[in-house]
């Protein structure tokens, strides 16, 4: 069975959830080979983690020489691994960095690239991807017709599947050009840990907008009761109530959770573009004319500062 390369998304060796989703997709296509580019001392734990989610092989690439350099070295690593293993496909998380790696890799390998896939299937021996475009108003089925399919997959495109793979670890020494080591991270300030899931990866997102009046207490309370991430509309970010990293929408994060709860958000096209593909949508808004209500599975016309605390209290009560 052909190998399918999966680039492991991790922070200092801690494997992030989208990697497991990619491994689940890789199993549909062939034999998953995880590619871990990171510290030598982190490799064993990361290899165990991806093995538990089905990696048959784990390529370990020591990043001592390339740590901190952006994108280009990782694209070179994947190029060399692809030339060595002739994979059936290369799966990369569709994060900002992942898409740039994918873009460079496509040119290097003269291979077609599909970005932001929300689903990947094998149909009659062909790999068919699904994308959601124009603010989620259209669904596009597409396939790569040249070279090795390179697919950047969005978070939540598949459910992680536990089940050990063979997990054979293979050290891979890549040759990195000097040209690839030119742009680098000078300083990084890790995002303050909130104890909440990451916005783009969360199964549930609870967002607040102009209608919060700047007070996110009720929104955050509900988010914590549901184990959700907190998001914000552009209006709330522009008002300085939340940093830009919380913004859901065209110029912020695009999320596609199982449940999206929009509170005090009118539902402008820019916001819809960031959440319209959520599986279930709920809104709470004082204005019954708010366009967000056109999208919802369930809506409450009312004051979020009254409704949300009552919902939170009831959830806590049921949890016991």
């Amino acid at each position: 069975m052909s190998e399918v390369l999966v680039l492991v998304d991790h922070v200092d060796g801690a494997v992030r959830k989208p990697t497991y989703e990619l491994l689940a997709i890789a199993k549909r296509i062939g034999s998953p080979s995880a590619v871990f580019i990171g510290g030598a001392d982190q490799a064993a734990a990361a290899a165990d983690a991806v093995k538990a989610y089905g990696a048959d092989k784990v390529y370990v690439v020591d990043d001592a020489e390339i740590k901190g350099y952006l994108v280009a070295p990782k694209a070179e690593v994947l190029q060399q691994l692809a030339e060595k293993s002739s994979p059936a496909a290369i799966l990369i998380p569709a994060s900002a960095e992942g898409k740039e790696i994918a873009g460079r890799l496509a040119i290097k390998l003269s291979s077609g690239l599909i970005t932001d896939a929300v689903d990947v299937k094998v149909d009659g021996g062909e790999i068919v991807t699904t994308q959601s475009v124009f603010a989620g108003n259209f669904t596009v089925d597409a396939k790569v017709v040249k070279g090795t399919p390179i697919i950047a997959v969005k978070p939540n495109a598949a459910a992680p599947e536990e089940g050990a793979g063979a997990g054979a670890v293979e050290q891979f020494a890549a040759t990195i050009s000097d040209a690839a080591k030119t742009a680098q991270i000078v300083a990084a300030q890790p995002r303050q840990a909130t104890g909440r899931p990451e916005l783009t990866e969360a199964a549930i997102v609870v967002s607040g907008g102009r209608g919060t009046g700047g007070d996110f207490t009720a929104v955050e309370g509900l988010a914590d009761a549901l184990g959700a991430a907190v998001g914000a509309s552009r209006a709330a970010v522009d008002s300085g109530w939340k940093p830009h990293t919380f913004q859901v929408g065209q110029t912020g994060k695009v999320v596609s959770p199982q449940l999206y709860v929009a509170n005090g958000i009118s539902g402008a096209i820019q916001h819809r573009a960031g959440m319209q593909t959520s599986k279930t949508i709920v809104a709470v808004n004082k204005d019954e004319e708010a366009p967000i209500f056109e999208l919802v599975d369930f809506g409450v016309v009312g004051d979020l500062h009254a409704v949300l605390p009552a919902v939170t209290a009831e959830i806590e009560k049921r949890k016991g």
Partner: protein
Amino acid sequence: MTLSNIVVLVKYVPDATGDRKFEADNTVDRVGVDGLLSELDEYAVEQALQIKEKRADEEITVTALTVGPAEAEAAVRKALQMGADKAVHVQDDAIAGSDAVATSLVLAKAIEKIGVPELVVGGLASTDGGLSVVPAMLAERLGLPQVTLAAVVETQGDQVRIKRDGDTATEVVGGTLPLVLSVTDQSGEARYPSFKGIMAAKKKPLESLTLADIGVDASEVGLDAAWTKVDNVTARPPRTAGEIVKDEDGSGATALVEFLASKKFI
């Protein structure tokens, strides 16, 4: 290194507030709908102009570059009105339907034709395709590094420093010219063209290039040359109208809890 040339990539896109649709061949309808300079590219033009203004002792030429149908001239016109010095419009019927790979090829060849600048600036993403991969592909083709998604841009001599919200951290990224830079809408409000700017733009040079001019064979671009193929485009079925309740003395909260429980979220 002194900075003498900046190329800004701009794209003409269907107006997001209009009725965007696809053609029978599954390409984006770029003619039948109103279009404009992609809003996100205005920030790229703005940053290019700010860099030029901050480095007033250097003679910097800002060139707006677009690839697209005749209507796309509107995108470079807008950039000229904002203050770009000249514009280049690559226009050729063969280009229609090109994917990001072919688009990056046309951009790279056009840039090589007009002279590779020290700095190429692009926006966060187009407001239609929204791929965000063209700057990376272009950088790869030109053999340049890329520093992307900048919320704050500073340049000094041949050094570029940007601040950005990375996937897991806020990062300061550094690079040395020449390079490809992309900026987000956080980088600063884009200026409106002044009346003077609009008048001045009419006299600024706007060069139109064909594929033959930049040395790209028609067989390398367009829908048939794409490395990916679209099988199907389906309009998302309109969401079936959900249940909407009015909150009266806490009834809204009770109903919402019941809904969440029925969907197994609690």
